[in-house]
């Protein structure tokens, strides 16, 4: 089973999904992230899916769950780098990511987190 590494930069956690994840790895990532948010007192989580070729309802639900969970732990989540084909497919599938914030790439994702946090201050 693949374990996705979680990187920490300042008070932001960055997860870059690089492989085709099986469902169990997705669930593990979800748990690992929740723990990491608490452990590092992170204020932001960025999930980079720029190399992910498909997002089905399972991964979609994971993204929504992580966002909801981090919100409860006082961290903001941004999903970055979703490919056009993936976005079109998600819309067709009828999947709602439950208001997860998104950005075109990692850089914009970090900028968005800064913006959201300065607005909240």
């Amino acid at each position: 089973m693949e374990r996705v590494p979680i990187l920490k930069i300042g008070d932001i956690l960055i997860v870059s999904i690089q492989v085709d994840l099986e469902d169990q790895s997705v669930l593990t990532l979800q748990e690992d992230l929740a723990e990491a948010v608490v452990k590092h007192a992170a204020r932001g989580v960025i999930i980079d899916i720029s190399v992910v070729e498909i997002v089905d309802s399972f991964i979609g639900r994971m993204l929504a769950t992580i966002a909801g969970m981090s919100r409860m732990l006082d961290a903001q989540t941004v999903v970055v780098g979703m490919r056009p084909a993936v976005a079109i497919t998600l819309v067709e599938l009828g999947l709602n990511l439950g208001g997860v914030r998104t950005a075109l790439n990692l850089e914009k994702g970090i900028a968005l987190l800064d913006h959201v946090r300065s607005a909240a201050r």
């Binding site: 979703m82 056009p84 084909a85 976005a87 079109i88 819309v91 067709e92 075109l104 968005l112």
Partner: protein, 278 residues
């Protein structure tokens, strides 16, 4: 029906061998093709007929080549099929002078063979034409759907002409890819030049905008003409919280404000004051 008498066949083989130059010359006249091109086909045909298994693959290959090149050069399909039938005519002229029953049987067999090849040419021609049409349609799609940057971080897609489902899909995919490539967070889809929008097209537009949001970009639709606004409302299509603007200029101003380039709010009364001045 099978008219395949060995004697007749041999007679035709003999004719084709003995009178090659004469036949090709006559064939070239009726077929309006170069003798070189025909010689190749002629020789392939001769060896195919002479062979025991009568394998026509080579002949078909050459004929397909001929029909394809003719399709591209704008010949009619009849012209192309006639090019094949031309050989039948040329052979017939020879057979006439030697009307033994064997030869006649042989000719009927040969004639059926040429009919088959003629039909094959016709089919290849039609396929080649279809391919050209598909290519042109694709080129047209590419041409008719530019995605342009109108400001740093703002893309515009001016749509002109009738939107069908296929075209809308192509444009929208192109737009989403352009968002990734340029990192632009705003896009304006301008439909000023679109005469009508049906339910399917409207759905595609909406889906694209939702997809763009999933990717982290915002789209504005501009240039909705009154008739289109009317038909969208009549069709019961929900635009939800998607921003629509009357003109491309309004949409650009909106995008500039949203991206933080323009910070001043436009005064709503400005135009009225100016109108009074004038």
């Amino acid at each position: 029906m099978s008219v395949d008498l060995p004697a007749g066949r041999r007679r035709i083989e003999q004719l084709l061998a003995d009178h090659q130059d004469q036949l090709i010359k006559r064939w070239a006249q009726t077929a309006k093709a170069s003798a070189d091109e025909l010689t190749e086909i002629y020789e392939a045909l001769r060896s195919a007929i002479a062979g025991d298994d009568r394998d026509l693959t080579d002949v078909r290959g050459l004929l397909a080549e001929l029909s394809r090149s003719r399709a591209r050069r704008g010949f009619t399909p009849s012209d192309t099929a006639r090019a094949v039938f031309g050989l039948k005519e040329a052979v017939y002229e020879l057979v006439e002078t030697d009307a033994t029953p064997d030869t006649m049987r042989g000719f009927i067999w040969f004639s059926l063979l040429m009919d088959d090849l003629g039909l094959f040419t016709f089919e290849t021609f039609a396929t080649a034409r279809e391919k050209i049409i598909i290519e042109q349609t694709e080129q047209l799609l590419e041409l008719s759907t530019p995605v342009v940057a109108i400001w740093e971080g703002i893309l515009a897609v001016p749509l002109v002409g009738t939107l069908d489902s296929a075209r809308t899909q192509v444009v929208m995919e192109k737009l989403l890819q352009a968002l990734v490539d340029t990192g632009a967070e705003h896009a304006v889809i301008d439909i000023t030049g679109v005469p009508a929008v049906d339910t399917q097209v409207a759905q595609h537009l909406l889906k694209t905008i939702v997809a763009a949001r999933l990717m982290g970009a915002e789209c504005v639709i501009s240039g909705i003409r009154p008739q289109i606004a009317h038909s969208i409302v009549t069709l019961g299509i929900e635009f939800g919280d998607i921003v629509t603007k009357a003109t491309l200029a309004d949409a650009l101003a909106h995008a500039l404000r949203r991206s933080g380039v323009l910070t001043t709010e436009r005064k709503a009364t400005r135009i009225a004051i100016r109108a009074e001045d004038a």
